[in-house]
Amino acid sequence: MTIDRKYEMARKRQDMAGKVIVFTSAILLIILVISLFYFVASKGLSTFVKDRISLKEFLLSTVWSPDRDIPAVGALPFILGSIFVSVFAIMISGPLGVSSAIFMVEISKKLGQKILQPAIEIFVGIPSVVYGWLGLSVLVPFIGKHFGGLGFSLLAGILVLTIMTLPTITSVSADAIRSLPIEIREASYALGATRWQTIRHVIIPAAKSGILTAIVLGLARAFGEALAVQMVIGNRPVIPKSFLEPMSTITSIITMDMGNTVMGSVWNDALWSLALLLLLISFTFIIIIRLVGRRGMYK
């Protein structure tokens, strides 16, 4: 074949242009993250810089009355609210999620692939407002009727988040368990171990870092979920003293109040500070996942 110089040149240019285009797309992701941090921080820090509210008051005070003449913006009830609701949810969905992951991979591959896997994918796909609406129309009245109170409560938030984090935990830990080499299972069975002994003493320890990643991801999802939680927890800015009391979280107060406040007011600034806090917490989760992932043995 003869070589067409012109065509060769065009081909080289095209090769270069392609590389530049995809590189720019990738760089755009970095720019997005930086600007996200920059813009949220620039608004979120004005509570402390412009409004002269101390970090200590913001993080540790329980008084939230931003609409008074001398506004108080203690965010502790929201911070604790977010922690309570997500940690308790994970305490339920964690064991259940890991159990169903084990079922899918170790107990019945066939049922796992044909039924559980698609089910988990549908669970993930259901929008959070639908979960919120179900919580509001079914769970809240149920709790009100059978346990007392209004039903809008910490408990309702925990249960809604349990369902929402379950698929995340299941699918991530199933991936971790699936990636373990078949040989270590065979080794254990060849020594006369039962399936349960193999799961407990070999599979779970070997998949430890993957399972931990799944739990942290679930926690991150719970922490960041806004509408479904906001719809069922009653939105009172207090620290709940029992599972049946109404409460607020960081995300719920932002959802509720952002539309009612004037940009630049202390109230508005404080909401941005909460958004910044949320951003930093979710970034911390990512760092934790990276550190945990690095300790994985088969990767």
Binding site: E183, R185, A187, Y189, A190, A193, A206, Y298
Partner: protein, 249 residues
């Protein structure tokens, strides 16, 4: 004394027949080598002896496998069977745990909790696998940090710690360097005083060096089985002779 007797064994993967009418017996405290071209059914065969094929879906087995005269598919519990018939795999497969925990795993799952007893068993097994001197100072380091040859001897030690009667070895040296291979061959020589050993190998010299008996597999059938010297130097079947002299496969 016959330790293992296999009678009229057929094995199917779905519709494919992988073993055809296998008849074999193994003397106690001897080493039987299984040779043959790859895909001839050697590995499939030894996995029927401790029922590892149970883990694979769609496997169907006809015929009988007797261990000390008991049918392992009917009269022996599978857990019990695997305790009595240990197995070393082709690729070293230590658990991602410490050296110590790897060896102690077997005794622990079979109910031994006493710390002193465990220590003794770990030391004894590692010594028997000729690994003790190399790892005695790093018992609590991850087993994955050992070299390939050490990992394989660790897997042997792990098998010994369960105190089996029979040890199955599926090409135990195929992933190892010559020096590690030599060490494992010496080990097999020693172990046969206490155990009955069946070793699959694609390495003719290895079969000649370590075994008392040799069985030649071809396309899922046993073509010839007898004392190693006889099979190697005076084969009865033309196909065995062709394989051993390297004229095919």
């Amino acid at each position: 004394m016959k330790k293992i007797e296999v009678k009229d064994l057929d094995l199917f993967y779905g519709d494919v027949q992988a073993l055809k009418n296998v008849n074999l017996s193994v003397e106690a405290n001897s080493v039987l080598a299984l040779i043959g071209p790859s895909g001839c059914g050697k590995s499939t065969f030894i996995r029927t002896l401790n029922r590892m094929n149970d883990l694979i879906e769609g496997v169907k087995i006809n015929g009988t496998v007797l261990l000390d005269g008991q049918d392992v598919y009917k009269e022996v519990d599978v857990i019990e069977l695997r305790k009595r018939v240990g197995m070393v795999f082709q690729k070293p497969n230590p658990f991602p745990m410490t050296v110590y925990d790897n060896v102690a795993y077997g005794p622990r799952i079979h109910g031994i909790k006493d710390k002193k007893k465990l220590n003794e068993m770990v030391e004894k097994s590692l010594k028997a696998a000729a690994l003790w001197d190399e790892v005695k100072d790093r018992l609590h380091k991850s087993a994955l940090s050992l070299s390939g040859g050490q990992q394989q001897r660790l897997c042997i030690a792990r098998t010994l710690a369960v105190e089996p009667e029979v040890i199955l070895m599926d090409e135990p040296t195929s992933a190892l360097d010559p020096i590690s291979t030599m060490k494992i061959e010496e080990l097999i020589e020693e172990l046969k005083n206490k155990y009955t050993i069946i070793v699959v190998t694609h390495n003719m010299q290895q079969a000649g060096r370590v075994s008392d008996y040799t069985a030649f597999f071809l396309n899922g059938e046993v073509i010839e089985c007898g004392p190693t010297d006889q099979v190697f130097y005076n084969p009865k079947d033309k196909r065995t002779e062709d394989y051993i002299t390297g004229r095919f496969g």
